[in-house]
């Protein structure tokens, strides 16, 4: 607007100011209104201002203020009304085309639900703060032995002490040892999650004590009484929140312990054994006298000094261990240590797979948006006539685009709300699939998920709306008007639609391949030969307290024998065995030496090992390859024996028969039994301890000669209908009424949990792939079908001129074939890239797995062929008379 154009330009400064302000505020009005009436409104302002000025300055001012308010009010109203009109137009449009509306809303609901669910999962695992104070500076330390590829070795007590002494970067270092324990004397005996921790652990976790005191350095002295801090939850559940609980004595695993304090509620710490998150029930002092002689058993948690970088901590650890190796070459040569943030220690392994899932979810969103964009384009093309008329009547392009975006936005928003409802159920399903979520509570829809969903709705609206808006923005007016809507299409719209379909096909191929690889890997993993039979097999966690109740080896063996005997004489139980090496549970490892060979510092090999009773191999149905397994002749007083597996025999003696009669020394310390050379009396078949475990060397020791006092019971039932937990409970109660009831878990459950992460990934990917696949098919169907309908006349002409139906079919299929070929090519390249990303997560399946790629390609081609069948048949059956009538 040219300010000089008005003959009535107010010339006084105040007038000029008011006019400038009015002119600037015209921007409040929508652009098309401004363009059409801007000059008129401004001119009107000038005329009336001049008229008001003639009646006095106050009149002029009053008019200026009134006109400004009028301008802003009307401008906003105009904008708001335009939006309201667009919304009501969109709602009426949806009512007119309910099928179209349903398809669009459902497509977006599914895609948005998938995005919200994956985001909620990723947020819970990686983004939400860990449920500990200042988790960001909490470090988990591991000893490493790069020579044998061991990156996560627990600490020995001497190493921990050296670390404490020498560190320059860590403010405090503490160790934890998780130990199941039994609480007696507060109702029925109950299993507790006991934490034996350095007193600094309270400082490191910044855990507050609400009653009494926390552990102190005085509590770790050799002669100090056994004192514990109990969790707030235990205080409530076992002691009724008794305010005088401090000073009370209770029995924990047959030891008298004094309660000295109660911790604040909801304390979550890193589990000292499995490494996940756990809620301790009580904390006792980790006494050097107990742990000094043990091997690598301590999990170390630390806090860095303020402002110290992670790299500096790692450098500091490397320096300390170099010094240690010089001082104690026998124990510490080759060892080092590194620090992980608490988050990395907990979920670092999960990152690559969730990255792939996140990519898949985005791809599904893009495919869904492409599809919705496509649907709008197809529909909008049918309305070309309407748009052209409106253009010719002077409607601004911006208005039509705004209207289209409003329409798309409305559908996407309704889809988003519906998607959130789906998400409620989807997150519940994922929580069941993935029990080890980092955040123990509160996984589901929370403010970050809502914010993310809102963001997705905006992005999806733009993605789905911009393509049709762009294609419709500049229609060929004269052509569209002449063609009167029917048969008219926007060439540009057609190209955009074909491109969208290609993108959909490519992404669908990529996601489906990723899902296929994961499913194949999961299948391969669970079909691996384990080396033992898990049919009707149960693992019974008897608990670590047996050692404390039955202090001597003879006492423990008697208990084991009684329970086993009672069990196998019960109908329904086929076999029972006690051992400390149970697959899918835990497998300790120790260094060992072979008689007659010499070992340099730090070069003793490690071996998985465990005490097993005589029934072990028959219960698991592990084959004996040479010699014998254990029997009644292996007693505490008889010659020390050992059974090894084939992998052990091959690696260290070159073959199965060669191992028989050789002597090895397994260096188990801390269980009160002598370290002695043992004669290999038998070789058994290889087993996998878990699905992803390689069948490595194992040494089995006779339970009669070596016990941990915390053996597990394995029971085989005769059929799946036997109530093993009830039988085991009643047998244990009959043998010793004071033992807490054991828990029995079927092996099927343990094995399923072992691949829980892979299953979650495969499931999420498979669901994403199915959605993307169906959407892509719908996309290509829409393009081909629409193209065929558009060319009905042409087909009619061709048919009446004698073209054969086959030729017509080829014309229709050419469209589909072009899209399919380009989409497939791009998809395969994309899939190969994703497969390479996935490779470290795949078991027994190569990244470029030919069967998977071939299956995806063939399935897609067949599916596309089926999807295009309808438009092809329709085109071939065109009645020339009907088709030409329109001409």
């Amino acid at each position: 607007v040219n300010a000089d154009s008005s003959p009535h330009l107010p010339n006084r400064p105040r007038g000029r100011l008011a006019r400038a302000l009015f002119s600037a505020l015209l921007a409040v009005c929508p652009r098309d209104m401004r363009r059409e009436y801007g000059t008129a409104i401004l001119g009107d302002f000038d005329d009336r201002y001049a008229a008001a000025s003639e009646r006095g300055a106050s009149h002029a001012s009053r008019f200026a203020v009134y006109a400004l308010f009028d301008l802003v009010g009307s401008g906003l109203l105009e904008r708001f009304e335009a939006f309201g009109r667009d919304v009501s137009y969109a709602v009426r449009g949806a009512a007119r085309a309910p099928v179209f509306a349903t398809v669009v809303v459902l497509t977006m609901a599914i895609a948005i639900a998938l995005n919200a669910t994956v985001f909620a999962t990723i947020s819970a695992i990686f983004l939400q703060p860990l449920p500990m104070r200042d988790a960001g500076s909490l470090l988990v330390l591991w000893e490493t032995n790069p020579h044998i590829g061991m990156m996560t070795e627990a600490f020995t007590y001497p190493d921990l002490e050296a670390l404490r002494r020498e560190t320059r970067t860590l403010a405090s270092v503490g160790a934890i040892m998780t130990d199941p324990a039994v609480l007696d004397g507060a109702g029925a005996p109950r299993e507790l999650n006991g934490y034996f921790a350095s007193p600094d652990m309270f400082g490191i976790y910044k855990t507050r004590v609400v009653l009494g005191r926390s552990l102190t350095a005085a509590d770790v002295h050799d002669g100090a009484p056994f004192v514990i801090v109990i969790s707030n939850e235990l205080w409530h559940s076992a002691f009724g929140a008794d305010p005088h609980v401090v000073g009370r004595f209770i029995r924990i695993s047959d030891y008298r312990a004094e309660i000295i304090g109660v911790a604040e509620p909801h304390v979550v710490e890193i589990d000292g054994w499995r490494g996940g998150l756990a809620r301790p029930d009580f904390w006792g002092a980790l006494k050097p006298v107990v742990w000094r002689e043990q091997g690598h058993l301590l999990r170390v948690v630390a806090r860095a000094k303020l402002g110290v970088t992670h790299a500096a901590v790692d450098a500091d650890l490397a320096r300390i261990f170099t010094t240690l190796a010089v001082a104690h070459p026998a124990d510490d040569a080759g060892l080092s240590a590194h620090a992980l943030t608490a988050r990395d220690a907990l979920v670092g392994d999960e990152r690559p797979i969730f990255l792939v899932i996140a990519v898949a979810m985005l791809a599904v969103l893009i495919v869904a948006c492409a599809n919705v964009g496509n649907l709008f384009l197809s529909r909008a093309s049918a309305r070309t006539g309407e748009f052209a008329v409106r253009f010719s009547l002077g409607a601004a392009r911006g208005r039509i685009v705004a209207q289209l975006l409003t329409e798309v936005g409305l559908y996407v928003s309704v889809g988003g709300l519906l998607g959130l409802i789906f998400t409620v159920y989807a997150t519940r399903a994922v929580a069941m699939l993935l029990p080890g979520l980092t955040r123990i509570d509160g996984y589901g829809i929370d403010p970050p998920v809502l914010a993310f969903t809102a963001f997705v709705i905006v992005v999806a609206t733009l993605l789905a709306g911009l393509a049709p808006a762009n294609a419709l923005g500049r229609p060929d007016l004269s052509a569209s008007l002449k063609a009167s809507g029917r048969g008219a299409d926007l060439t540009r719209g057609r190209k955009v639609r074909a491109t969208l379909a290609i993108v959909e096909i490519a992404l669908a191929v990529a996601i489906t391949t990723a899902a296929g690889l994961n499913v194949r890997s999961l299948q391969a993993l669970t079909q691996r030969t384990l080396g033992y039979d898990t049919t009707n097999l149960w693992l019974v966690h008897a608990g670590a307290h047996y050692m404390k109740r039955y202090a001597t080896l003879a006492g423990q063996l008697t208990l084991y024998r009684h329970v086993s005997h009672e069990l196998i004489t019960t109908p329904g139980i086929a076999a029972a065995s006690w051992s400390s090496i149970t697959p899918f549970n835990s497998t300790p490892d120790v260094p060992f030496t072979i008689a007659g060979r010499s070992y340099g510092a730090g070069t003793k090999p490690d071996v998985d090992f465990g005490p097993v009773d005589a029934a072990y191999f028959s219960t698991f149905r592990i084959h004996t390859l040479a010699g014998r397994t254990f029997d009644a002749s292996d007693r505490e007083s008889s010659a020390p024996t050992v059974v090894v597996n084939a992998a052990f025999a091959r690696r260290y003696f070159g073959g199965v028969p060669a191992a028989l009669g050789k002597r090895i020394t397994v260096e188990i310390t801390g269980f009160g039994q002598a370290i002695v050379p043992r004669t290999i009396v038998g070789v058994v078949a290889d087993v996998r301890q878990t699905y992803d475990h390689n069948a490595g060397p194992i040494a089995y020791l006779p339970l009669a000669q070596q016990s941990f006092g915390s053996e597990s019971l394995v029971v085989r039932a005769t059929s799946p209908h036997v109530d093993v937990p009830a039988i085991v409970r009643s047998v244990v109660a009959r043998v010793d009424a004071l033992l807490p009831p054991p828990t029995a878990v079927p092996y099927a459950e343990l094995m399923s949990a072992d691949v829980g992460r892979q299953r979650t990934a495969a499931t999420l990917l498979a669901v994403s792939a199915a959605i993307a696949f169906v959407l892509a098919l719908a996309g290509i169907y829409a393009v081909v079908s629409f193209g065929a309908v558009r060319r009905t006349n042409e087909f009619g002409v061709r048919l009446s001129l004698g073209a054969r139906p086959f030729a017509i079919a080829r014309l229709v299929l050419a469209d589909a074939a072009r899209i399919l070929a380009i989409g497939l090519a791009a998809g395969v390249v994309l899939a190969a890239g994703i497969a390479n990303m996935l490779e470290p997560q795949l078991f027994d399946v190569p990244a470029l797995d030919v069967p998977t790629f071939a299956a995806v390609i063939v399935t897609l081609i067949v599916a596309v062929a089926l999807a295009t069948l309808v438009p092809v048949v329709r085109a071939v059956r065109v009645d020339p008379a009907v088709a030409l009538r329109y001409e």
Binding site: C29, Y37, D44, F69, E78
Partner: protein, 128 residues
């Protein structure tokens, strides 16, 4: 029957059914239609006419004026008599269309009916 249809029936005027949808009119729209009932006018002339006939009780600010004119044009109730190709919309003259006249009449009748009821209830004095 709606009051305006009763009125139309009484006056023997054919009122298309969808006139109903347009009523009641906004104060601004109705006064612009009333102002144009006298004949063609410019935008500024309309605003002055409305202000003077209502004794200043109804004011149409510059933006409201043109916004309302635009809506009435869109609805086809008023039309431009001169095509202003010089770009100055102030110089355009507006006139009432047949449809605009029908609508304005229907609105007036609607108000008259309400006023009649008010008189019957003795809220305002009866006419002589």
């Amino acid at each position: 029957l709606p009051s305006n249809l009763i009125a139309a029936h009484r006056q023997g005027v054919a009122v298309p059914p969808d006139v109903n949808d347009a009523l009641p009119l906004t104060v601004g729209s109705f006064h612009i239609l009333l102002a144009l009932a006298e004949g063609e006018r410019h935008g500024y002339a309309i605003a002055k006419e409305v202000e003077s006939t209502t004794l200043g009780r109804v004011k149409l600010g510059p933006t409201t004026l043109y916004r309302t004119i635009r809506q009435l044009l869109d609805d086809g109730w008023i039309a431009e008599t001169t095509r202003a190709d010089d770009g100055d919309a102030r110089k355009r003259l507006y006139r009432l269309t047949a449809r605009g006249r029908t609508i304005a009449a229907a609105e007036a009748q609607r108000l008259a009916d309400i006023v009649r009821i008010a008189r019957e209830r003795r809220l305002i004095p009866a006419l002589a």
